[in-house]
């Protein structure tokens, strides 16, 4: 009798210990770090990205969290869009808040600075909107993933789209207008080289070099209008681009000459809805309206608008949302929130995102996502202009060949 009682006590003790243990395990939250520049030049984009992340987290938490049992807890910090501050804040997130993954950053310089920290502490790092190719191309880290089309993909996509437009519109000659400094010169060179390959029939009519910080574009504007090119390809630094646009508008420049090259995310399309010239040929990273045929995008737009007073999600919000869902699918494949296993599971993984079924390229963890080129124009469905006649340039047509990445990494080692 006594031994029977002892057996029951032992069984019950083991049972309660196991149940208690599993309850404790189920309650373990997933700490997700978000390090973004909420002050400084990236404020607007970062704020939008956090909103996209928040919507994804709300949706996943409504179903119990990752794997249905790990509710996500967001820890977000301001990097001030400065690399040194970004490093400090990410270390804080890792050491103090015990995050398992960090989503960062608006600035590519910050993302590059954060990468070795994530590798050192074996924490996942998802670069959701910073798009320097060097984040994944060189100094490879198995912990770093990129869900935004990188600089190479965007440049090649622009050339690809321009070539298509040139064929369609029978364009023959173009003028380049580039800021006269390192970035302007190198970008312009890359554009010309890409166009030589994609549209060899196009001829450069003139190369114009306004100085960086030019305040008076009138002579450039009238000269381009006088030379009547089929289009102008601009590589102007951001402030110069705004100045040029403002000065060219009163000439009716954009009504007469297709102007290619500026980046217009949904943020710009909304904030500059009244002043943005219609007819601009612009490039974008993840415009929601390009994928309203995908149920996941429809659902995201609906939930985002419901949460943020009817506001439409920008490209940055879309990519923030996708970053969380890519992580979710990595965790599901791994069957655990253990970072090492999730990292391995995400390598080469194909994920269902708002922008379609996309794969992380095994060689560099770059999401094989599309770039978008279209013409700024009004659409009765939206209270702001969108990119019309949209061309989606798939990763297969825009990503850097793997052999070049291997060569770049070998050169880096020497």
């Amino acid at each position: 009798m006594k031994s029977k009682f002892l057996c029951i006590v032992i069984v019950l003790t083991v049972f309660f210990v196991l149940v208690g243990f599993s309850i404790a395990k189920a309650a373990e939250p997933y700490h997700l770090g978000v390090a973004l520049g909420f002050t400084g030049t990236g404020t607007l984009y970062s704020k939008d990205q956090l909103e996209g992340i928040q919507v994804a987290v709300d949706e996943i938490n409504a179903k119990g969290g990752f794997l249905g049992k790990h509710p996500i807890k967001i820890f977000h910090q301001d990097t001030q869009t400065k690399p040194d501050v970004a490093v400090r804040t990410v270390k804080d997130l890792i050491l103090r808040d015990k995050v398992r993954a960090v989503v960062s950053e608006y600035s590519s310089a910050c993302a590059v600075a954060v990468k070795p920290i994530a590798r050192e502490y074996k924490v996942l790092h998802i670069a959701a909107i910073s798009n320097s190719e060097n984040i994944t191309k060189i100094d490879y880290s198995p912990y770093t993933f990129q869900v935004v089309p990188n600089t190479y993909m965007q440049a090649k996509a622009a050339a690809y789209a321009v070539a298509q437009m040139a064929k369609k519109n029978n364009w023959k000659e173009y003028i380049t207008l580039a800021s006269d400094y390192e970035w302007g010169r190198s970008t312009q060179k890359e554009v010309i080289e890409n166009l030589k390959k994609t549209a060899p029939f196009l001829k450069v009519k003139k190369e114009l070099w306004p100085k960086l910080g030019e305040t008076q574009f009138s002579s450039f504007i009238t000269s381009m209008m006088g030379m009547k090119p089929d289009f102008v390809y601009a590589c102007l630094a951001s402030k110069d681009n705004v100045t040029f646009t403002e000065q060219a508008k009163p000439y009716g420049f954009f009504d007469k000459i297709p102007y290619v090259g500026s980046m217009q995310s949904v943020t710009e399309l909304i904030t500059e809805a009244k002043t943005l010239p219609r007819g601009l040929v612009a490039i974008a990273r993840a415009p929601f309206f390009a994928h309203m045929d995908i149920p996941m995008m429809q659902n995201f737009v609906k939930n985002y608008r419901a949460k943020y007073s009817g506001k439409y999600p920008s490209d940055w919000a879309v990519m923030g949302y996708d970053a969380v869902y890519a992580l979710k699918q990595g965790i599901e494949k791994a069957g655990t929130i253990d970072t090492e296993k999730v990292k391995d599971a995400m390598k080469g993984l194909t994920v269902d995102l708002t922008r379609g079924k996309l794969q992380f390229r095994p060689i560099d963890n770059q999401l094989r996502c599309s770039s978008y080129v279209g013409v700024v124009g009004d659409d009765p469905r939206y209270p702001f202009p969108i990119l019309k006649d949209l061309i989606e340039i798939k990763a297969a047509d825009s990503e850097r060949p793997e052999a070049e990445i291997v060569a770049a990494r070998q050169a880096e080692k020497k």
Partner: protein, 294 residues
Amino acid sequence: MEFTFIFSQFISGLTYGMMLFLVASGLSLIFGVMNILNFAHATLWLIGAYLCFTFWSLMQSYEVALWVSIPLAALATGAVGWISEVVLIKHIYKRELHEQLLITYAMALIFGDLIKITWGPTDRLIVRPPIIQKPIHLFGAPIDSYFIFVILIGFAVAIGLWCFLKFTKYGHIVKAAVFSREMVSALGIPIPKIYTWVFTMGIFIAGLAGGAQSAIGSVTLGMDMAIIIQAFCVVVIGGFGSLMGTLVGSLIVGEIFSFAILLWPDGAMVLIFVITAVILIVRPWGLFGTPLRA
């Protein structure tokens, strides 16, 4: 080359030249009368642009907001100039030229930081009234309608300054002070007071130019450093202290730049610097200056 194309480039050059004239005329006047090489001149021009944006922001619901904001910006910038003269410039009249340059350069940096603190790093953009959003066509050439206003302001300032110097008592005193401040002082005319008002007038014109510039494109940090070099080129070519020289120098720079873009785009700015260097070597007092102060 078609006539309309050439005419269009000419008008662009004229506009560019007029904007340079508005910046450089105050610079030239201050140097001509007070012998002060004011490196902070363009930064005060930028303050004028930011002030114009602020006034416009406060009144933007009214059609006339821009037209009222420009003179208000000129007045407010003139006030800043007056304070600067009384507090700082007054104490450096007798300093060596290189010391003046260093002090006014420090002023430019201080004003630049004050601009950043006051208006922040974000670009500021004035939305033009609808009447000047569309181009007008002259001889078939499209012209930004606002530039007609800028050209008119430029000529108005040139004529106004000329009339002031030619027909008014104070104008005569200022002209006399250019040649011999000692003689003017000996006549019992308070030179310090004249200097204060000349400096204020120069900065008022800079503020007017800044106000006019603010509706041409976005107002951004660093614009001042881009234009000050060209303003110096203008006064070197035209001659320090010469109103006519500044006007002609501005038009030369504007037109050369405008047409060089067509023929030698890489060297448009280089050409202007080459001309400036040649003038400095061959005729250091400029095309219309006098060798008296050279």
